[in-house]
């Protein structure tokens, strides 16, 4: 693989996420208002989220899954659509559990 090939798929993304321990909470700690996302032209969350949790939908909205979240906060930091993303920490004892990082 040449260094500039983009090198997107050296590890399958599902395999990648399967290496991480998540204690999934009942309640989502991130809430996305897809109506607001529809008016967003950049959708930076889709590419920036290291866990790849934001999926653009055909109607222009964004589908979001909180279960494999690293709780890094990149999504709300790059989000420029007011009110699209409500971000907090998951319930105590839940969420990502990092062991070798």
């Amino acid at each position: 693989m040449s260094p500039d090939s983009g090198a997107s798929a050296d590890i399958d993304f599902e395999d990648r996420m399967a290496t991480v321990d998540f204690q999934v909470a009942q309640q989502a700690h991130i809430v996305v208002d897809s109506d607001v996302c529809r008016s967003c032209t950049t959708k930076a969350c889709v590419t920036a989220c290291p866990a790849n949790l934001f999926v653009p939908m055909s109607d222009g909205g964004v589908l979001f899954n909180y279960e494999q979240c690293f709780e890094c906060g990149t999504c709300y930091l790059v989000c420029n659509a007011e009110g699209a993303l409500t971000w907090s920490y998951p319930e105590g004892g839940h969420g990502v559990v990092m062991r070798r990082s």
Partner: protein, 433 residues
């Protein structure tokens, strides 16, 4: 009515250090952690520098959960096909009192919090602090957790709740909390037999290698890193979140690109992914820091932005511990004096300035901006690599042109302006000199 003298929010290195100091001063202290154990939510670039630990645990190296002692420290300037390394090795760092080491944060943070517990602090895990409790005068008097009946009251709260700093922000201490000052670190922990790691990295026994890499992030402001653990290697990138958003590339693609670099790939051949993680980092330095205290509240560690991203020095855990120790000591003094208001705030600021925590950051306040500038990120690496390549490419029968001519030629080729070089050199000298 208070439940504890002090509540420390977050059992990372800052929180554990603060709780330890308070407990040693004879104060009742609750250390609240949202993860199931200390370190569960923490990820870092990779090296913990030990000198500050001397003040916490005598002969800490005999008991700390170390992966490898760093004896080889390299800075690598790269382009897609080139690499210039400054590769320093000393055996002295592999002996007492040791300089720095790699560790898994799950193990290290638990170890440090264990010392706070043994000193008498009460560690409460799996509890997320959702807000501060304030009295009618706005004074912080406790925290709200997400446990049933989760209100806890104390005379002083120390917020060590990490980079997002929800408590400091809720107390109004940040007036410029901005994505511009935050980077995201994304890393892979890759498994290899320890003997293979030692052979490929030129290490013996518990020795370790740390490589910091510039010019490997496809123009997104940031850098790359590679650290050796006992039987894994951590490799990853640190990226400006705004730069990442603008570039529209995926972070794991940038790791894949770094892993494929000709000077990195041979080290990692055949390695298996063991863990993939991400965490944000406050890299804005001195000018991005919040106010560090309010009535009844102190802020330490990443929550206060005490993370040094100064290119040749990339440190955070040591500043977290250092600031936590100061916060614990100042809080203990304020409790003894019966004044955890303005006097405590002033004492905290002064004490931090008297230590490396704010002294270093004040001195290096211009460094983060310089390190993440376009010139340092993309223009200079290519210029330097091409210049070195020209110097070492033998062109006989053409005679050697000489350094001055090569420098001028590459400077023009890469459009490097002398006034920019001079300005950046001056900033560098002011910061690092």
């Amino acid at each position: 009515m208070t439940d504890f003298d002090a509540i420390v929010v977050g059992a990372g290195p800052a929180g554990a250090a603060a709780a330890l100091r308070l407990a040693k001063a004879g104060r009742s202290v609750l250390l609240v952690e949202r993860g199931p154990f200390p370190g569960a939510k923490n990820m870092y670039g990779g090296v913990i520098y030990g000198r500050i630990l001397d003040e916490v645990v005598p002969r800490w190296w005999e008991q700390v959960p170390v992966q490898r002692w760093i004896t080889r420290r390299a800075t690598m300037i790269t382009t897609a096909e080139q690499a210039l390394s400054i590769d320093y090795r000393t055996q002295a760092w592999g002996r007492e009192p040791y300089n720095g080491f790699t560790a898994y944060r799950a193990e290290f943070d638990s170890w440090l919090a264990g010392h706070a517990e043994r000193a008498g602090a009460v560690l409460l895990c799996s509890a997320t602090v959702t807000d501060l409790i304030r009295d009618a005068n706005g004074r912080v008097v406790g925290v709200q957790t997400d446990r049933p009946d989760g209100e806890v009251r104390a005379k002083v709260v120390i917020a060590c709740d990490g980079v997002h700093s929800f408590l400091a922000r809720s107390a109004g201490l940040y007036d410029n909390f901005s994505a511009e000052h935050i980077t995201v670190g994304v890393k892979e922990v890759l498994g290899l037999p320890r003997q293979v790691i030692e052979e490929r990295c030129g290490l013996t026994g518990d020795e370790g290698l740390d490589i910091e890499i510039l010019g490997c992030t496809k123009g997104v402001p940031g850098g790359g890193f590679l650290y050796t653990n006992r039987d894994t290697i951590s490799v990853g990138v640190v990226l400006s979140v705004t730069g990442l958003a603008k570039a529209g590339v995926r972070p794991e693609e940038l790791i894949a690109r770094l892993k494929a670099h000709p000077s990195i790939a041979p080290i990692l051949a055949g390695a298996q992914l063991k863990e993939y993680t991400a965490h944000t980092i406050p890299e804005g330095g001195y000018d991005a820091m919040p106010k560090l205290a309010a009535d009844g509240l102190l802020v330490a560690g990443d929550a206060a932005g005490f993370c040094l991203a100064a290119g040749i020095w990339l440190e955070g855990v040591n500043y977290a511990i250092g600031s936590g120790l100061v916060a614990g000591e100042v809080a203990a003094g304020a409790l003894a004096a019966g004044d955890t208001g303005q006097a405590m705030a002033r004492a905290y600021d002064k004490a931090l300035r008297d230590t490396f925590v704010l002294a270093d950051h004040a001195k290096l306040r211009r460094a983060p901006h310089l390190v993440l500038s376009d010139r340092v990120q993309t223009q200079y690496p290519a210029f330097i690599c091409d210049l070195v390549e020209q110097v070492f490419t033998v062109t006989n029968p053409q005679p050697k042109a000489g350094m001055r001519r090569w420098f001028g030629a590459q400077r023009r080729r890469h459009d490097v302006k002398l006034r920019h070089l001079a300005a950046d050199a001056l900033t560098g000298l002011r910061s690092f000199g």
